[in-house]
Amino acid sequence: MSVVLENRLTMLSMDPLATTEEESARAASDYANLTAHLAADTAGTMAGQRVVVVGGGVIGLMTALYLTRAGAQVELFEAQSLGAAASGRNAGGIYAFGRAIDEVALARASMDLWEDLSTRGIDSHFQRPGHAMIALNDHERSLLDLAERHYALAGLPTRMLSPEEAVAMLPGVNPDNAGALMGTTDGQGYPFTAVTSIIAELRAADAIIHDHCPVQSVIERGGHARGVRSERGVTEADHVILCAGPWLAGFSESAGCNLAVRPRRSQLMVTERIAGLENFPFVSGNRVYARRTHAGNIMVGGGGPWEQDGYNVTSSYEALSFLGKHMSELFPGLAGAPIIRAFAGTVELTADHLPLFGPAPAMAGLWISAGYNGHGFGLCAAMGRLTVDLIRSGSDSVPLPAAVNAVVGEFGPDRFNVKQGNSHE
């Protein structure tokens, strides 16, 4: 009788069997080209341009930050509290390891930008304790062995831990584990301080921020976005960028394409502070993930298709019980840790798990950056920075640099139009 061993590796989005060595090697060269491109100073390149940013999550705020650093005059609108939707209810993971191979270059570049920001005024508690994917059976272990080769070709530093090494490095882990693959440069940060210090820099640089002020519509004249309407009246701008996260679909009509982003609940719970786990990396396996916060709590999460669609952010007993069970199996040594808090947020899913980033077809000067499929905290630094290139490609006729196009070329926001199918005009 053969037993089918399940794959419960939480974070391995790459299919190591379908990924080719050419694709993996391309991730390394894409990263090198992107890094070279990002070394250029953007200061002043957007001087005199007025940009309205719609949405004050990490994507909107980080976009506003890089646009402001490039000299644009930014006005940001947030419907509710700044950084309080998914952007204030996430696990703070900033990682590349585990990503599908064509996202690795972008995710690595974003980690580097987070690190750079943390040395230039943004208090994100950024650190790189690594990310360990833990196998609990031989099937998972064989997937990790294959994945290791691809990530190595992609240039990501990794290290395979034997079961004994995993026990030594991951306090409390199941001693019957089948080994762990560790991405040694993966990072994490703290959303609340990051958001607070981005807001402070924006205000100091005279960017205008309106919170509790939803944008009602985008204003178009002569085929060009001219600003937005809100309860404050009309705000004129040369460019409008929609960073509305899971709410993006509401702008489909203005954008002239099907902005198919679907909201789904995802839940987290947090233990009391636990002493002695100072070097605990981000860990994942057995359908859950966990990390140590800078304050010393362990945060445990894990969503999936079994979760509810929509904007409900109350914790459910089923999910907490699921997280408790799976985390206790993965880390029996932490099973007695007291849970002090549980919360839920809304992830923003697209059908192909790629974001929507690029121009809206309906009018010039309208741009989209949303739908980050539960990866937006890590990616926001790169996406914010690349928005400078994106908007310049539409205004100064500076074409999108090849190094940028190589990593965002698949993200065109109009790609779901063909699949719409059921329109009934």
């Binding site: 609340f192 402070a200 914790s315 907490l320 019980s321 069970k325 002090i340």
Partner: protein, 89 residues
């Protein structure tokens, strides 16, 4: 005599709460996001009334937004494994 301890779990003082409000926080949840008040083991059971009273007194004298600090499950700390055992009963 401004520096009363507001959140004992996370060591947040009245001055820090006031600074968060001055920087734009307009409800208890926004104060929590800026200061960690309410994020310790008692989950705001002690400090929530004080923080909510402080945000109520803005320069404009009104609450701009009425969303309060979220009350999170569990009401009393429960261990990871207890969450499981209770389900299996």
């Amino acid at each position: 005599m401004n520096d009363h301890m507001i959140c004992r779990c996370e060591d947040v003082t009245a001055t820090e709460v006031r600074a968060a409000i001055d920087a734009g926080a307009c409800n208890a949840q926004e104060v929590k996001m800026r200061t960690r008040a309410g994020m310790g083991p008692c989950q705001g059971r002690v400090c929530r009334p004080a923080v909510e009273a402080m945000v109520g007194v803005t320069d404009e004298g009104v609450l701009r937004s009425n969303s309060a600090m979220t009350v999170h499950l569990p009401v009393r700390p429960v261990s990871l494994q207890d969450l499981v055992i209770e389900r299996e009963q």
